[in-house]
Amino acid sequence: MNYLYTAYVVTWVVHIVYLFYLSRRAARLREEARDLERK
């Protein structure tokens, strides 16, 4: 039973980490775009 929950949690941890990484990249990109407009 514990193995089951661990597996499901692990799956979502991996996906959430990846989503977090994507959002970080998008945020950095937005900042760069703002930089570009300012100059």
């Binding site: 039973m1 193995y3 089951l4 661990t6 597996a7 499901y8 692990v10 799956t11 991996v14 996906h15 990846y18 989503l19 994507l22 990249r25 998008a26 990109l29 760069e32 775009a33 570009l36 100059k39």
Partner: protein, 292 residues
């Protein structure tokens, strides 16, 4: 954010929740393995998504390499169209002979359709490259899930975390190949990155059947660990529903992730180009040489 994107995200979330509900609540508990078998509802869809994405990465890489030259592009499209027709023929007429022939035909047809569809939507080098990069990255994420959930299922059922059996080892090797692909993308410099990455992807794809063959033979040479109670034994219709719902949910989720990653890659490229043109304009003020 566009409203369609928000709606698609909500639909994906709903599907994933429903898949979770199907897997944890609706599906009956398996007789021999107990609740641990429910890991299967996440394991199988992840594997399907990962392998499909790796295949699409190969298609994108191939497209990237041929799309530069018009003749090569047309030639490749023609070859795939012919292969598709042959595949269709084999799967229709070969069915009566062997199961194997029809599965080969189906695979050929699928490859041809995949190539032509992707060629239609990503018909330029930057697009094909961004597509290849996105599928590889998301594929590695899903493959990681497969490699983590697999041992968590194996431990209570087989009594061991890992066995060097054909399927597990092939998946691990595939994961290694695509991680090396991502590393190459990260460390390659400048505009040559896409070409180098595409070449490595073709190598990786050519390697897959050889990997599978070698590990299969390698393993049959040695004593197998005791494996019993496969999923095949008396699978309930509710179990099938859980499998299919999760398959759908994970496929949609993967499409969302790839789309997001693809858009990110496109935006990154646009900004890079904007910086480059700006720098160029700045330079032209300072240096008034005719070479510019």
């Amino acid at each position: 954010m566009k409203p369609t994107y928000v709606i698609a995200s909500l639909v994906t979330f709903a599907l994933l929740s429903y898949g979770l509900y199907q897997g944890l609540v609706v599906a009956p508990t398996e007789a021999t393995m107990g609740d641990v078998q429910r890991i299967f509802y996440y394991h199988l869809p992840s594997a399907w998504v990962a392998f499909t994405l790796f295949f699409l990465n190969f298609v994108g890489s191939l497209l990237f390499l041929v799309v530069k030259k018009d003749a090569a592009d047309k030639f490749a499209a023609g070859v795939f169209a012919v292969l598709g027709v042959i595949g269709l023929g084999i799967s229709i007429f070969g069915r009566s002979y062997t199961e194997f022939a029809s599965s080969i035909g189906g695979t050929l047809l699928m490859c041809a359709i995949a190539y032509l569809v992707i060629r239609h939507f990503f018909h330029s080098q930057p697009q094909a490259d961004a597509f290849a990069a996105s599928t590889a990255e998301v594929g590695v994420v899903f493959c990681t899930v497969v490699l983590l959930t697999g041992p968590l299922w194996a431990r209570p059922v087989w009594g061991i975390w890992w066995t060097w059996d054909a399927r597990l080892t092939s998946t691990l090797v595939l994961w290694l190949i695509y991680v090396s692909y991502l590393i190459l993308r990260k460390f390659a410099t400048g505009g040559q990155t896409p070409t180098l990455a595409a070449a490595l992807s073709i190598f990786g794809f050519a390697d897959v059947p050889i990997v599978y063959l070698s590990i299969r033979y390698f393993r049959t040479q040695h004593p197998q660990p005791v494996i019993n109670g496969g999923e095949g034994s008396g699978i309930d219709s509710h179990m099938w529903a859980a499998v299919l719902w999760n398959l759908l949910a994970f496929t949609v989720f993967a499409i969302m992730l790839v789309t997001t990653r693809y858009k990110l890659a496109q935006a990154e490229r646009r900004i890079e180009e904007a910086f480059a043109t700006r720098d160029l304009e700045d330079d032209s003020h300072l240096i008034s040489r005719s070479t510019r």
